[in-house]
């Protein structure tokens, strides 16, 4: 756990050279036929470990459960855990190690888009398979990634119209962290706002990790907006909500409607700062079904923390292992990236959030959009949900529709972009 020292050493060229040589020396380790090795790759150290550690835990929990109930087609799953260290470059190295040296047929991992983009070339060049559990900005159509988190249309197509109709708010202030996810979300939001006859008064960004929100909240107050759409990510969220309340704004009159603020951020900021605000996600810890309550209990006892919270990406990390298991079994127990990719198409699983299905065209998941209002206890109350899961449309910002897909099993129709 001496990450800082290690990071420092890595920068020195001598260590870098040794690390680069190492995978070649150990290539080709024999494997028992009664086992299937898979990669589990999240940041266990560094700034992002706060969230990513929980995703790794959820993945390992699913693996343990599957092994306890007989494994995959009679074989035991053996996880090889690697640490992405909150650094895209490290992610790339670890992905290469898992794919080339360990020769795993699948890696479960990555949290940020930056880390996914960093490992994508490894999986595409080696024809391997990544299971990616995070909600993300869309605009990707890889045959080597199964995306089980929400894409913009699954977080926004219900949210924006709901804000305009049920809250009666028409003037949006869009604010986000300055990188690709918030910017793509803003793009989709603007389309939906204009369709609904609303307007957006500002579209502002602050750098990731920014914690001085005085000027921005002042601007929100002066802008004359009646709702704030927040795509702010990470610990900036906490500073933002706290400043919002400290400047005398209220979620009753000017609610923050967020796409990233989850149970983790709410817990970290103190629930009273978010009470009354809204978030849109396909999964909340507060989903009042038997399946979900049991899932939360199992997770808490797995991590030995009676107060642990669950959230969307964590739930995806969990159920995607089950989808993977079904895909391997559909392929007759043969686990290669190709057979798993074919096997996963159209797989259905009853996850804690409800039924999920993998779209055979774009390998994204059908998910059920939900909106929750946060209470003073740090938990959401589900106040709106779709009756059925909706189709994932990773290119919705560019005009993709359910009957007009850009990303199909044949690949991406680049002429449409």
């Amino acid at each position: 756990m001496t990450i800082n020292r290690r990071k420092f050493l890595k920068k020195s060229s001598a260590f870098g050279a040794t690390a680069a040589l190492a995978p070649g020396l150990y290539a080709g380790v024999a494997k028992a036929s009664s086992e299937i090795e898979v990669g589990v790759m999240f940041s266990l150290t560094g700034g992002l470990s706060i969230v990513e550690k929980t995703l790794a835990d959820a993945t390992l929990m699913a693996i343990e459960e599957i092994n306890a109930s007989g494994g995959v087609a009679g074989k035991e799953i053996v996880p090889i855990v690697e640490d992405g260290a909150s650094d895209p470059k490290t992610y790339n190295e670890k992905a290469s190690k898992l794919v080339l040296r360990d020769r795993v047929p699948t890696v479960f991992g990555c949290y940020t888009s930056a880390s996914r983009k960093a490992v994508l070339p490894v999986f595409e060049r080696r024809q391997n398979l990544l299971f990616y559990p995070t909600y993300y900005e869309g605009f990707e159509c890889s045959k080597n990634v199964v995306y089980t988190g929400a894409v913009p249309n699954q977080q926004l197509s219900n949210f924006i119209p709901w804000i305009m109709e049920n809250l009666g708010k028409k003037k949006f202030f869009i604010v986000g962290s300055n990188y690709i996810y918030p910017r793509e979300m803003a793009k989709v939001s603007k389309i939906l706002i204009e369709q609904g006859g609303g307007e957006w008064v500002a579209d502002e960004y602050l750098e990731l990790g920014h914690s001085e929100w005085g000027a921005m909240v002042n601007r929100i107050r002066e802008s004359g907006c009646d709702v704030v759409l927040s795509n702010v990510v990470g610990d900036s969220v906490i500073a933002f909500y706290r400043e919002f309340i400290n400047q005398g704004l209220s979620h009753d009159t000017l609610p923050i409607c967020a796409t990233v603020t989850s149970e983790i951020e709410i817990g970290a900021m103190g629930a009273e700062f978010a009470a009354g605000s809204f978030t849109s996600f396909p999964y909340f810890q507060a989903i009042p079904t038997e399946a979900n309550l049991a899932f939360v209990d199992r997770y808490r006892s797995f991590v030995k923390d009676p107060n642990a919270v669950t959230q969307h990406a964590l739930e995806c990390s969990y159920f995607q292992v089950y989808l993977w298991k079904q895909a391997v079994e559909a392929a007759g127990g043969e686990a290669t990236p190709d057979t798993i990719r074919e096997g996963i198409k159209g797989q259905v699983f009853d996850a804690p959030n409800g039924r999920v299905t993998i779209d055979p065209d774009n390998l994204h998941a059908y998910l059920t959009p939900r909106i929750a209002q946060w209470g003073a206890d740090g938990q959401g109350t589900i106040i709106d949900e779709y009756a059925d899961p909706i189709q994932p449309l990773p290119y919705v910002a560019y005009g993709e529709a359910g009957d007009d897909l850009f990303c199909t099993a044949e690949g991406l129709d680049t002429a449409r972009l």
Binding site: I50, Y205, E212, R219, D235, I238, G248, M269, K304
Partner: protein, 297 residues
């Protein structure tokens, strides 16, 4: 307009709060204390832990954090820095090591992580402190919205600045510190116990960092690496203000905070940050010794 001034003033007060401790350890003692941010972090964790286990509110946590950070500072001085006076680059490396050590101690819960024990309030997660509710409720005063928490920070910072000034320029020990700053050997030959005074000065500077931590915790998240970003701002202020000058530190904090606030309101925070760095570069080119600095004879 008053709004903009207030934002600037509030930014200034936070800068000064962090820089005040550094102005003493770096400015007065010539120690590049990279662990200053971690002392801020320790102050913040003192507030978190005393809130959880002792039910202390923020106001009680302030002196407690001062004492804790000062004690840790004293320990660092005794164990490491004492051997490194006059070796400015060595202090940078050594305190950087101390900083990493302190961060990991909190992250690994002093080792409890290895035994699968979770101590609420420690560990790699995000923590927060409760701010008394009357500090969260803004009120109107002659058409101007007063933000109690920000105002509270400004008041505490001013108090600490005045107190520090008094200690340094109006007390016997302050005079000894200033004598050591100018010339430690000469001070020693005049009968000043240089080791003892230096240790106390370092502890005092560390204690100020602890207080800053409690106040920062009110609007930031508390996490093990929260200190590494604030320490840069602190050094910026001290260098611009002039090494060894309290007055300069205060003035530089006010200047940079106001510039930051003004540009942030007119344009945005990212541009504001760039402008601040630009101003710092120009100022250092113009006066490499800082805005205020004593003459060496």
């Amino acid at each position: 307009m008053t709004d903009i001034l207030f934002i600037g003033l509030s930014l200034s007060s936070i800068l000064l709060l962090i820089a005040l401790g550094l102005a003493i350890t770096y400015g007065a003692m010539g120690v590049i204390n990279m662990a200053h941010g971690e002392l801020v972090m320790i102050g913040a964790y003192t507030a978190v832990l005393s809130g959880i286990y002792l039910n202390f509110n923020m106001f009680v946590a302030l002196p407690l954090a001062f004492a804790t950070a000062a004690a840790v500072g004293l320990l660092i001085e005794r164990l490491v820095i004492r051997r490194l006076y006059g070796r400015i680059i060595d202090t940078l490396l050594a305190t950087w090591g101390v900083a990493i050590l302190l961060q990991q101690m909190i992250r690994l819960q002093f080792g409890a992580t290895f035994f699968d024990v979770t101590i609420p309030g420690l560990g790699p997660g995000l923590q927060n402190i409760d701010v008394p509710s009357f500090l969260n409720q803004p009120f109107d005063l002659a058409g101007f919205t007063v933000q109690p928490y920000r105002s509270f920070i400004i008041v505490v910072t001013l108090t600490l600045a005045v107190l520090t000034w008094y200690l340094f320029y109006r007390t016997r020990i302050g005079m000894q510190v200033r004598a050591i700053m100018r010339n430690p050997d000469m001070a020693a030959s005049c009968g000043i116990d240089v080791r003892r005074v230096s240790a106390l000065t370092f502890a005092y500077g560390s204690g100020l960092a602890g207080v800053a931590g409690v106040l920062l915790a009110g609007f930031k998240t508390v996490q093990p690496d929260m200190g590494s970003s604030v320490v840069v701002d602190g050094f910026l202020v001290v260098v611009v203000g002039g090494v060894g000058s309290l007055m300069g530190t205060a003035f530089a904090a006010l200047l940079l905070g106001q510039i930051n606030g003004l540009v942030a309101v007119l344009s945005n925070d990212i541009v504001a940050r760039a402008v601040v760095f630009g101003v710092v570069i120009v100022l250092i080119m113009w006066r490499p010794q800082g805005l205020f600095s004593f003459k060496n004879r």
